[in-house]
Amino acid sequence: MPSIEARDLTKRYGSFAALSNLNLKIEGAKCVGFLGPNGAGKTTTLKIFTDLIRASSGQALINGVDVHKEKKKALDPCGVLIETPEIYPALTPREALSMISEIRGVPRQERAKRVEAVVAEVKMEEWMDKKVGKFSKGMKQRINVATALLTDPDIVLLDEPTTGLDPRGQAEVRDIVKSLKQKNRLVFMSSHLLNEVSEVCDEVAMIDHGKLLVYDTLTSVTEKFTQDGGEVEVHVDLLKDIDDKTLSSQVSPIAGVVSAEKVAARTLRIRMTGGLDDQSRLLSELVTLKIGVVSFRPSTSRLEDTYLKMIKDTL
């Protein structure tokens, strides 16, 4: 079973602690989102796991192997994309990927096929034999994603993989990550995009000031924090106008509703407490009222609510 583990991982720059005794163990085939504000320690953690920087103390283990002591063995099962790497500008994607496949010991007879397959996966076939130096940032990032997938790795470490990509590119990377999950890979991915994490990840680890705040399944984390008094704002679109009397006498008294107001003649803004079950119950009750509910949508994602609450709490 693939695993990565940070054991008392600490990184100091002088008196500043970028990471402070981080303990995190991730096992099995899943996608874990690594969240935190700028400077929280996300990239620092990933850089230690990939030998780009050294820990001041503690261990970074991949499949139980210490990256610092046995780099080759530890990184062998990993595909890695940290920040936005630059490829030697005079090389073509075919050459750059061939170089990595040689370094990673892909058998000679499989190299060309593997390179073509991953380049096709990131939809860069037309650019296969053009020099990378002429590519846009987004195109380079696609090649970097292809590089991370080159050896069909068991573990994929991604640091904000959609950086620099256009919306289509971002969606394609999300699809790639989802396909990795289906292939039973362990994906550990840092991101600022909470919707992205909500869409593709099963679990989430949040970090701030170099310390782990929470690591659990996406559902547990969001449930926990919305049930702990967290408020959710819901927008409800209606088929017909709603009068003030109906709003105050029938909508506002529903259990869990903190406030209900008309934003427009056919749009309501409801603030409520509770988790997904409570949202489901509220929707059912609104439908029962026969006020013509057309859409029902939380104004922010539950993960975003959780994130903002957690990060605010640490300030």
């Binding site: 990939t50 050294r54 990184l75 920040e83 090389l91 590089t147």
Partner: protein
């Protein structure tokens, strides 16, 4: 070897490789024209004198070596940090020492091509004036030139590991090799009056000295101009001493550069 192969490919497609090839051609072309037109006696009187003047005492061979060292070694490591190419290469199951050695071998091979170009034109001119008679000393000088190149690249890689900025590492190595070392060597000999056995440029004097009819005496003392002028001591590096200096520089700077690269962080 994989790193060497693709680094070389990158060099061969880079502007700097062709700029150096053109510089080599220009220097050789200019010298060919000057020697062909003026026919200076030091060049055309005998075959050894020709090679000594063209390859040795003109200092052009060492200049080509230094330029190659600066062009190919100056930012070989610092560029990995500044240009972020290290983020592509380092997080792979590959020791940093393999990257360092691979890049060094690529720089050495690319530099050898530039030096080979200059040597080939030297020999072509030699064939024109003296036929296919190439003195054995020229072979020794080529070997010493290759050793000097190894030492220069060891040194430039060390400075390249020391700095994260490519322009800074290139600038520092250029200043050191093109001006500072020669100046320091002159000052040591004239003011401190000791043998500059610790200077790499002193060791490189073997490249020219080995082409002399008789290898120069290790230490000579005499008046600079006439009997009234002050007495000066001139040091000529011996071949074993020169080889030792170049090997020592190669090993020491190579190890130091490697240790720096191993410890350096991509922050």
């Amino acid at each position: 070897m994989t790193v060497t192969k693709y680094e070389l490919l990158n060099y061969f497609r880079s502007r700097r490789f062709f700029v150096l090839l053109i510089i080599g051609l220009l220097i050789s072309g200019l010298l060919t024209a000057v020697v062909g037109y003026y026919r200076p006696s030091s060049f055309v009187d005998n075959v050894l004198g020709f090679y000594a003047s063209w390859w040795g005492s003109s200092q052009l061979a060492t200049l080509v070596i230094i330029l190659s060292g600066i062009f190919f070694g100056g930012d070989a490591i610092s560029g990995e940090f500044q240009n972020k190419t290290g983020y592509y290469l380092v997080p792979n199951p590959l020791r940093r020492s393999s990257i360092y050695v691979g890049k060094w071998l690529a720089a050495f091979s690319a530099s050898l091509i530039i030096i080979a170009e200059f040597a080939f034109i030297t020999m072509a001119n030699g064939f024109y004036y003296f036929g296919l008679n190439v003195p054995t000393q020229f072979g020794y000088s080529l070997l010493l030139a290759a050793m000097y190149l190894a030492a220069v690249l060891g040194f430039t890689f060390f400075f390249s590991s020391l700095f994260k900025s490519s322009s800074m590492s290139i600038l520092v190595t250029a200043i050191l090799f093109l001006f500072a070392f020669t100046l320091i060597q002159t000052l040591i000999v004239s003011l401190v009056k000791i043998e500059p056995w610790f200077m790499l440029t002193y060791g490189s004097d073997t490249i020219a000295n080995v082409l002399q009819d008789q290898y120069p005496q290790h230490v000579t003392t005499g008046h600079i101009r006439g009997p009234e002028s002050p007495i000066a001591t001139v040091y000529n590096v011996t071949i074993p001493e020169g080889v030792a200096i170049m090997v020592a520089y190669f090993i020491v700077t190579g190890i130091l550069g490697l240790v720096l690269f191993e410890r350096k962080e991509f922050t």
